[in-house]
């Protein structure tokens, strides 16, 4: 469902299919690390100049947040099995970790159309 939603948006903003696949994988990578059945996740997509910005809020896996902010080599743990930083570095054109209250965080990702 989420992929269809992203696809629908992407086709109105001329995102090539390989870039579309990348951004879908980026979102899926973050979602799969989230604890199941806890809280609400909100994905907002906005059209920016020449691309899309995705805002994924309600993330609660602190292991992922630490991995995204880390400057040291990745250390896997039960709460973050893969180096999400390496994945996002390649899949999207830029991302920012945003702190929000109640121990949650949000991630903003930029995706250029070309």
């Amino acid at each position: 469902m989420l992929r269809v939603f992203i696809s629908g948006f992407a086709c109105r903003h001329d995102l090539p299919v390989d870039r579309l696949d990348d951004v879908q994988l980026a979102v899926e990578t973050l979602l799969v690390e989230e604890p199941e059945g806890e809280g609400e996740l909100v994905l907002e997509i906005t059209a920016a100049a020449g691309g899309l910005t995705l805002h994924l809020a309600g993330l609660r896996n602190q292991g992922v947040k630490a991995a995204l902010l880390a400057t040291d080599p990745f250390q896997p743990g039960e709460d973050c099995l893969l180096d999400v930083r390496v994945l996002l570095d390649s899949l999207v054109d830029g991302y920012r970790v945003l702190d929000v209250p109640a121990g949650l965080f949000a991630l903003e990702m930029d995706m250029r159309a070309s």
């Binding site: 992929r3 269809v4 696809s7 629908g8 992407a10 086709c11 001329d14 995102l15 090539p16 299919v17 390989d18 870039r19 579309l20 696949d21 990348d22 994988l25 990578t29 799969v32 080599p73 990745f74 896997p76 743990g77 039960e78 099995l81 893969l82 180096d83 390496v86 994945l87 570095d89 390649s90 070309s114």
Partner: protein
């Protein structure tokens, strides 16, 4: 004078026993496997743990695959567990073998084909779109957009989105084949990727997605390396190895899933051993 009897030599890969393998404690068998690659000890361990495989396989009895097939697949997981087991970890073989067997069974389901029922027309459109992506990438010199695909295929953008999405339901992405019916004329990946040494060299890099990258198939490592460490796009990877961009997409997803599964197995082992030492 009678010739002295020659001492009995054990079979290659097995050690002479003073007792039946079935009477030997598990730890001693594991030591024999580790130190002597003892085939008889390995076989005995596999026999002892087959009931575990059967029990785990039966959990998946209602998923549409014969239980006998699942037992066979699970047995491969058991053999891998016996061969990879590290006595120094301080955990029981059963602790290590369980996630390995389950992982093998789950991979089998993933590789078994269309995960959900997809209408034939949508499957056909998916195959057509796969070909069109390749043609349009050459003609347009960039990966096509959904609108460009819709125009070329003479269908609506919604139908393109739906067909592309249905392609995700096809998970039979053997690294040796094109998958989903496309790429039938392409060379097998094995032929395209150069030597095993070249592929093995890949995981000597400093940054890896996970410490268990070494457990991936060399070709899976190569695909991930090209995409995530050489910075090649899916389209560039596809052009380099002669398969479709959509197949590259599926291979990347499968490789990441495998990596995550291997890491989960490692983590359960670390947890059982009471903490992280070295993975």
């Amino acid at each position: 004078m009678e010739p002295e009897p020659r001492p009995t030599r054990p079979r290659a890969g097995s050690v002479a026993y003073g007792e039946k393998p079935s009477d030997i404690p598990e730890r001693d068998l594991l030591v024999r496997v580790r130190d002597h690659k003892d085939a008889a000890a390995r076989e005995e361990l596999i026999t002892r743990y087959l009931p575990l495989v059967k029990s785990l396989a039966r959990r998946f009895a209602s998923r549409g695959q014969p239980v006998e097939d699942l037992i066979q697949v699970g047995s491969i997981g058991l053999i891998k567990a016996v061969d990879r087991f590290d006595l120094e970890r301080g955990v029981e073989l059963s602790t290590y073998a369980t996630p390995t067997i389950l992982g093998e069974i789950k991979r089998y389901f993933r590789d078994k084909g269309w995960a959900v029922k997809v209408p034939r027309a949508l499957q056909d459109l998916n195959v057509r779109l796969n070909r069109m992506v390749e043609q349009l990438t050459v003609e347009l010199r960039h990966s096509p957009t959904i609108a460009e695909l819709a125009t070329a295929a003479g269908v609506s953008e919604e139908q393109v989105v739906e067909a592309l999405e249905s392609g995700r339901a096809y998970s039979s992405v053997s690294i040796f084949s094109g998958g989903a019916g496309e790429d039938d004329d392409s060379l097998e990946l094995l032929d395209c990727l150069g030597t095993e040494e070249e592929a093995y060299h890949i995981f000597e890099q400093r940054r890896v997605l996970a410490p268990v990258m070494g457990r991936l198939d060399p070709r899976e490592r190569l695909i991930l390396h090209m995409r995530f460490f050489e910075g090649m796009t899916q389209t560039q990877v596809a052009a380099r190895i002669g398969i479709s961009q959509m197949h590259v997409s599926r291979l990347i997803r499968k490789s990441i899933e495998n990596l995550r599964q291997f890491m989960a197995e490692e983590e359960s082992l670390v947890k059982a051993a009471g903490g992280r030492d070295e993975v």
